[in-house]
């Protein structure tokens, strides 16, 4: 790790003021990606501005919406009775991220802001008409995810909370990469009054995406049978030493089927 300064401001405003002091400072959320990257000298910072003290960890639920503070850890989402009660698929998703240590440090805001193409949370955000609230504005999930490791966040903009719309039913199924246990393919299916949305992580060349083939099939007939004959195109899916695009295309369909089996 290159030498760096560390600060832990006690509010979002102070955090923004702190980060503006130098051109190469970085926000630190849970650090589950940033710290290893820093340790490997693949990244550097003048100052790490730790958001842990900025009072951004909370979970609240209304009849239509779950609001989760950006610094809420995966383990807190996974074990929250509110989340388990109103949106169990999200609790399950959070409980399946990384390992015990990652879940005890990693945060929802950090995960969304990093937009790792194999991260789990982006699929839930995209499938659930989510609003990502920052210190500057509100951004719809659709606009938020721009590309691999890229989001609509401006420089120095901080996610403060994430508002998920509660669907009628939802399910998230992950096919983990055997090495990293990130999603090789993760499929989030949400059934809402307005229709079915299906978001896929781990597979797309540009990160998380909505899978229209499956959405069309399920909107006409919400059953596993309706998925039997659809064909997912491998175009614009990832290929790497773990899985070809064609295999990922197959996994999207198979994980969607498993999600449906959970929901029906």
């Amino acid at each position: 790790m290159y030498e760096l300064q560390y600060s832990k401001p006690s509010s979002v405003n102070d955090a923004v003021a702190e980060i503006k002091k130098s051109s190469d400072s970085k926000f630190l959320a849970g650090g589950m990606t940033l710290i290893p990257t820093l340790k490997a000298r693949l990244s550097s910072a003048d100052t790490l501005v730790d958001l842990k003290g900025a009072n951004l960890s909370k979970i609240s639920v209304s009849s239509s919406e779950i609001t989760i503070g950006s610094m809420t850890r995966h383990c807190d989402v996974a074990s929250s009775n509110d989340v388990k009660g109103s949106l169990p698929a999200l609790a399950k998703l959070a409980g399946g991220i990384g390992d015990h240590m990652v879940r005890s440090c990693g945060t929802i805001g950090g995960s969304l802001a990093n937009n790792d193409p194999a991260a789990c949370y982006p699929s839930a955000a995209l499938a659930l008409d989510t609003t990502i609230v920052t210190n500057e504005r509100s951004i719809s999930a659709e606009d938020f995810f721009v590309g691999m490791f890229e989001t609509a966040l401006n420089e120095n903009e901080i996610i403060t909370e994430v508002k998920f719309q509660i669907p009628e039913k939802a399910s998230y199924i992950k096919f983990p990469n055997p090495a990293s246990r990130y999603a090789m393919v993760g499929v989030f299916v949400a059934k809402k009054a307005s229709g079915v949305t299906v978001a896929v992580t781990g597979a797309g060349e540009n990160g998380v995406f909505r899978c229209s083939e499956i959405e069309i099939a399920l909107n006409s007939n919400f059953s596993t049978e309706s998925l039997e004959n659809i064909d997912i195109s491998p175009d614009s899916l990832n290929s790497d030493i773990h899985a070809s695009a064609a295999y990922r295309a197959n996994l999207i369909k198979e994980m969607a089927k498993r999600a449906l089996q959970e929901m029906i």
């Binding site: 090495a179 990293s180 197959n250």
Partner: protein, 789 residues
Amino acid sequence: MPDGGSTGIGVSVKRKEDYRFLVGEGNYTDDINRPNQTHTYMLRSSSAHAKFSIDTSKASKAKGVVKIFVGTDMEVGSIPCGWQVDSKDGTPMREPAHPPIAKDKVRYVGEIIAVIIAESLEDAKNAAELIDVNYNDIPVIIDMQDALDNSKGLVHDEIESNVCYDWELGDSEAVDKAISEAAHITSLDIRNNRLIPNAMETRSAIGDYEHATGQYTLYTTSQNPHVIRLLMGAFVLGLPEHKLRVIAPDVGGGFGSKIFHYAEEAIVTWASNKIRRPVKWTSDRSEAFISDAHGRDHVTSVKLALDKDGKFLALKVDTLANMGAYLSTFASSVPTYLYATLLAGTYTTPAIHCNVKSIFTNTVPVDAYRGAGRPEATYLIERIVDKAAREMGISQVEIRRKNFIPVDAFPYQTPVALQYDSGNYNATLDAALKKADYEGFAARKADSVKRGMLRGIGFSTYLEACGIAPSAVVGSLGARAGLFECAEVRVHPTGSVTVFTGSHSHGQGHETTFAQLVSEKLGISTDMVEISHGDTNNIPFGMGTYGSRSLAVGGEAIVKAMDKVIAKAKKIAAHVMEASADDIELNNGNFEIAGTDKSMSLADISLAAYVPHNYPHEELEPGLDEKAFYDPLNFTYPGGCHICEVEINPNTGEVKVEGMTAVDDVGKVINPMIVEGQIHGGLAQGIGQALLENAAYDSNGQLLSGSYMDYAMPRADNFVDFKVGNEVTLCTHNSLGVKGCGEVGAIGSPPAVINAVVDALSELGVEDISMPATSEKVWNAINQAKNKN
């Protein structure tokens, strides 16, 4: 009243060493810091094959830098290979120079090109970024077939070929004749995937030169400190033994990867003299992936000839074995003497021939990894036996029984040099079939089918040769060292015991198992016994820990030393009690005069030996401290049966291990719990190789699986509860009757797993699947089979 019975042989004594590990008070190399110590960063090549030039002038002036060395600064001997293999035409293997720091050409990504020594590791890393390296890339040789065609480039220009040796074992004529006349021939092409050892503790080394005495000390993560002292002292740095002390303190796993003498050890030792300060280096995990010797990496064609009844007539094996860019310490012996000699397996195959070409490529050096050669041999035997059975319509169990070496045939001379001393392969097979509930398999399969799943069962009735080894034999096979072991048993004045052993412990539990030997033999509790290892200044001599040799060779040396202790103790007791030494009997730790109630405890005798007021000075020296060297007469031959059951999801190709049974014959068991732990660990690595692990290079020689993000280590949820058992036949040539258990899990299990996968897919017409059997590979095989049908 001393009582060793409760901690003697056959008792699952809890591991004495675990407390210090569990409370975080182990003493590993990186825990050690010497006064005035410096820190080292090894700058490693990012190119797989290049001529290079290097400019360190800017870096040398950076903050905290003490000294930077490049290859031309370090004019020392070549890092040696410990085993000479001659080609079949009689020429010795090609042995290219292996400088600790590359001089003008790099041959793999990870090779050291500069050594930056600084006040702190961060200073060293910062300085390394200021070093200018100019790589002039040369075409990269990754594939062994490409390497064979020398016209595509040479890894080492000076040896004029990429082939290290072209070696053979066995009767080629007899094999060809049998194949030409056989009723059935089964053929198979196999790749034994390259693995990265991944010991929990990464390598580390501290060189500490004491100017006033001229004494060097090397602290290092080694499985065999005396071997490092010999290889580094005699061949690389020219340091005599009496001026070089090597300490391997607590070591966190090795699996073979810490046998070898590595460049970093020589560099820190040498540099500590040059800069007159201690020099420390510790590998980080990313560095370990590209600098620890890798394992396996064979490509093999195999043919099995059978008569019409399924009796094996001949086995023909052609192997290309990857050596990587340089010859590591044991590299040359792994695909030859630890491989081809095993090709009879548990079977009576009368004719066997094996040809091995070992090949240099622009990859990390390849050397012994848990099993070393024997997993590769076992894999091809057990795979082709399975395939032959399927082709001939014989059951997987029956074809094995038909060809087993029968119990009354021991000692059994194989056609590939070894003479097995004991074994009972039907016994381990029968026990495993029972443990695995083979009879219930059909019902379990029917249940899987009902759920739309495929299910398969796979067998491996393996044998291995370990307890290496008889020095005379390995010497005749090209070993440049003896492979005996040494032990010293010191009975202290008040009767407690310290054992000094050359068998280094780095996870095996020697501190417990060896103490149990003492407990059993001398009748004292293991609490009264300390096992000392890992320091060349404390231990008389040692050849180290590998090849499942610790108990069969090191343990036996301890027994020999104890025999001497007992013989002397009897004489002392006889003198003190005024009897004849012939009348003294050792019972439960008491030296008794036969037929009387007179006796002395070991503590009484040792006190008499160290306070020799009433002592037979004409006949005996004072003290009770004996040393023994032990060189066995033969290898030991553990064997057994592993049965794996898998369920496969045909829609995704996911393979789930549903059952893993291992019934092994490791000879006499000293500590059942430790043996079971060793089997579990071996099975985990075997299943890992079969389903998950793979070191993948791209065509530019970059390691694609260079971190845990991409190298799939097995985890607990990849397994099922292992069913482990043993069936004992005693080794006939050591007094304990022990064989060895460290490697059997990793040797026996991979073919059982793959045979199970193939069994599940066989109804679709799939005949082979390569390791690791990833879900995509299995899915592709299913699709291709479906498209064919």
